[in-house]
């Protein structure tokens, strides 16, 4: 969990992030095609896409250089998760990136994160993203302890998300001691904050793209003799969506900056709440603008919106995090609110 960004050379770190992001954008643009998304929608694992993602080193973005990773700054690394989601890429990039960074080494194949804890390696893991395709699941087993559970040959129960991505279950009945490591800073929150961070980032990316598509469609679609973009009703809706997209993007960056700090749970919770609320509104507006055409399977909008609707529930829906944040805020008292907001939103405060 080392923060690799050297605060004295932020521009160097930014430049590196930009370079990797550019490369990733080209990769997803080329490989996350409609055909790939449609095949994934039928339940087919997109191994070629994953191999390309792996060869580009993207899952190692958050792992430190000493441990064999890329060591991007967290905002840049989480930015890759957002970027993949812009393309609705049906691979567990965020999960694998987080697992490698927390486990402290590169992992074989894709990995997944268990949302709930399995105390001492016992309990039922549910809704593991891409569980049947992943090599390992990272699981919180209590305290600061994480376990890396091999999934090859494991007997998984199969389920799926609203976007037909695998969400699988596994019964754990004890783990060998060498599958468990102490990872300082994890604590009783387990992996919920980490999962919330990547889901928030994914929602941010998907809603950016949904907004882009909606703007393009509104400019293209002619009714009553002019593009519907010329109607104020459409303009006002899309402007509202842009506000949600902007807020989600800003708060996801904020949460990414809290990576590796004790503030992660609070920041990731804020991000999951705000991005989740935004995702609901932006998906609704995107569909309203696209009208009946966007409701068809033939159109590509649903690759994004069905994911957004799944992601907002995973690793704690808005209300779950809001309740938790609200309890913290109330316990601290009214006067503590503003100083806490300043501290959590200050860029680079922890660098």
């Amino acid at each position: 969990m080392t923060r690799m960004m050297d605060a004295s050379h932020p521009s160097e770190a930014d430049g590196m992030s930009a370079l990797v992001a550019e490369q990733a954008e080209r990769l997803f643009d080329r490989l996350a095609t409609r055909e790939v998304l449609a095949a994934a929608d039928r339940g087919e694992w997109q191994g070629d896409l994953w191999t390309a993602v792996e060869e580009a080193g993207l899952p190692l973005a958050l792992l430190s250089e000493e441990a064999g990773g890329v060591g991007l700054d967290p905002v840049g690394a989480i930015g890759l998760v957002r970027l993949a989601a812009r393309h609705a890429a049906p691979v567990p990039l965020g999960e694998t990136m987080i697992a490698a960074a927390l486990w402290g080494e590169a992992l074989e194949g894709p990995a997944t994160l268990a949302a709930a804890s399995a105390p001492d390696g016992h309990g039922r893991l549910t809704r593991l993203a891409f569980g049947r395709n992943a090599g390992h699941a990272l699981v919180h087993v209590g305290g600061d302890r994480l376990a890396l559970v091999p999934l090859a040959g494991a007997s998984l129960t199969h389920d799926r998300s609203l976007a037909n991505e695998p969400r699988d279950g596994l019964e754990l009945s004890g783990l060998p001691a060498d599958a468990i490591r102490e990872v300082p800073g994890i604590g009783e929150d387990g992996l919920a904050p980490h999962g919330a961070l990547i889901r928030a980032a994914q929602m941010s990316g998907a809603m950016e793209r949904a907004l882009d598509m909606s703007v393009a469609y509104a400019n293209d679609r002619v009714q009553f003799g002019r593009p519907i973009a010329k109607f104020q009703a459409i303009q006002q809706m899309l402007a509202e969506a842009a506000g949600h997209v902007a807020a989600a993007s800003a708060i996801v960056d904020m949460a990414a900056e809290a990576w590796g700090t004790p503030d992660l749970a609070f920041a990731a919770g804020l991000a999951k709440s705000r991005a989740g609320e935004a995702a609901g509104r932006v998906a609704a507006i995107a569909h309203q603008v696209h009208a009946a055409m966007g409701f068809t399977h033939e159109h590509s909008l649903h690759f994004l919106t069905r994911r957004m609707w799944s992601w907002r529930e995973e690793f704690g829906a808005e209300t779950w995090w809001e309740e938790r944040i609200g309890r913290q805020v109330c316990a601290a008292g009214g006067e503590a609110l503003w100083p806490a907001i300043v501290d959590i939103t200050a860029a680079g405060a922890r660098a």
Binding site: P10, V75, E208, L211, D212, V215, A218, N219, A229, K230, Q232, I234, Q235, Q236, L238, A239, E240, A242, G243, H244, V245, A246, A247, A248, S249, A250, I251, D253, M254, E257, G269, L270, A271, S273, R274, E277, E318, T319, W321, E322, E323, R324, I325, G326, R327, V329, C330, A331, G333, G334, E335, L337, W338, I341, V342, I344, T345, A346, A347, G348
Partner: protein
């Protein structure tokens, strides 16, 4: 692709130093001035508070030293301003002068205007109103009809301005008036002047708001004489200056912190053991607040760096004022306390103040609909 990025703003160390200083100042000043944070906001006019804040060096820190400032970066002002708002300080007397009138005079004013006015703004002794709207020119600002005509080495102004906050107790306005034909764009022929409210040729009529407060006025110009060195910017440059000014005005912390004190008193009203609904609603508002603070700081940082993020600024105001409208409504959902201007308890009073002010949040400085039109333009829809 239209992704409006809000890069993380790194506030300079001097901004954080100023933040600590102004927090300490406000803690003490609250006892000195006896102001009540749950009832006061950036529209509460309190000349004594402004004088104390000016004397302590917390107003117009960005002005050059020769004009009473400290030559500090814009982000220092940002930190001081957000702390004043968060503390519920009654900073309404100097707010407009510091936020927009002073900076306009600094950039575009004559030597005399700068020398006479700016040091008094920085001292917290000189207050401004905004002379943009007219009875026939609200959202459609280009429809301004108040006219200035040449008279010797000055100008004569005839017409009227409306919704002029504090005209009855401020020292100056900056008025946007017509000095030439509107042209095809409708944006030509507009010029700005500093109007000295103590001079003859002006009549001020109070307009009480729905709660009975007297902040607004209508100001009538009857052959009002203004010397040419009180012109701000070039003849005909008014439109571009006003749009630039509005961009500065839009993304500031006053666009999402207007009712922060209601949220603070709500949290205390709820207490340390909220029920599930109270906790969730307060958590949700906290998330909105965090996103907005991040966005606002980011835009201020972009402006400081010389960029003009017009769409981002409009986004901050649209989302920010929407949040401001949400706070009293959500508060009502989770507490049964009825709002009462004279009811016991900070929360009931704060709720009363806020419910009665809330309609103005999404009107002032450009309605939400006008802003969304600008955002739509930024998105490429118009």
């Amino acid at each position: 692709m239209q992704a409006f990025r809000f890069a993380g703003a790194r506030l300079p160390a001097e901004a954080e130093t100023a933040r600590a200083e102004v927090r300490a100042f406000l803690r003490k000043d609250r006892e000195v001035g006896g102001w009540e944070p749950h009832r006061t906001t950036w529209t509460s006019f309190d000349a004594d508070f402004s004088a104390r804040a000016g004397a302590a060096g917390f107003i117009a820190t960005g002005f050059p030293k020769e004009f009473g400032g400290k030559g500090a970066p814009m982000l220092v002002r940002f930190a001081i301003a957000e702390e004043m708002l968060a503390a519920g300080a009654p900073c309404g007397a100097h707010w407009v002068a510091e936020r927009q009138s002073g900076p306009q005079i600094l950039r575009h004013g004559s030597d005399r205007a700068k020398a006479e006015i700016l040091p008094r703004i920085a001292a917290g002794e000189c207050f401004f109103g905004i002379g943009m709207s007219e009875p026939g020119s609200g959202s459609d600002l280009a429809a301004v009809r108040t006219r200035a005509t040449r008279d010797g080495d000055g100008w004569r102004i005839n017409g009227s301005k409306i919704w002029t906050s504090n005209a009855h107790r401020a020292h100056y306005l900056i008025a946007l008036v017509r000095t030439g034909p509107a042209g095809e764009s409708r944006h030509a022929g507009l010029t700005q002047f500093v109007i000295d409210l103590s001079k003859p040729g002006l009549t001020t009529r109070p307009i009480h708001d729905l709660a009975g407060n007297h902040e607004f006025n209508e100001v009538f110009f009857d052959d009002y004489y203004v010397p040419d060195d009180m012109r701000v910017g070039g003849e005909g440059d008014g439109w571009s200056m006003v749009t630039a000014e509005l961009a500065f005005e839009r993304a500031g912390p006053d666009r999402y912190l207007s009712d922060i004190r209601l949220l603070v008193s709500l949290i205390d009203e709820v207490g340390g053991s909220p029920d599930r609904m109270e906790a969730a609603e307060i958590g949700r508002m906290t998330a909105h607040l965090a996103g907005l603070r991040r966005m606002s700081a980011s835009v201020s940082s972009m402006l400081d760096g010389g960029a003009s993020p017009i769409t981002q600024a409009a986004l901050v105001k649209d989302v920010g004022t929407g949040f401001e409208r949400m706070v009293p409504e959500v508060s009502r959902r989770i507490r049964r306390t009825e709002p009462g201007p004279d009811a016991p308890g900070d929360y009931a009073q704060s709720l009363a103040e806020t419910v009665l002010r809330a309609p103005s949040f999404t009107l002032r400085g450009g309605t939400q609909e006008i802003l969304r039109g600008m955002i739509a333009r930024g998105l490429g829809l118009r």
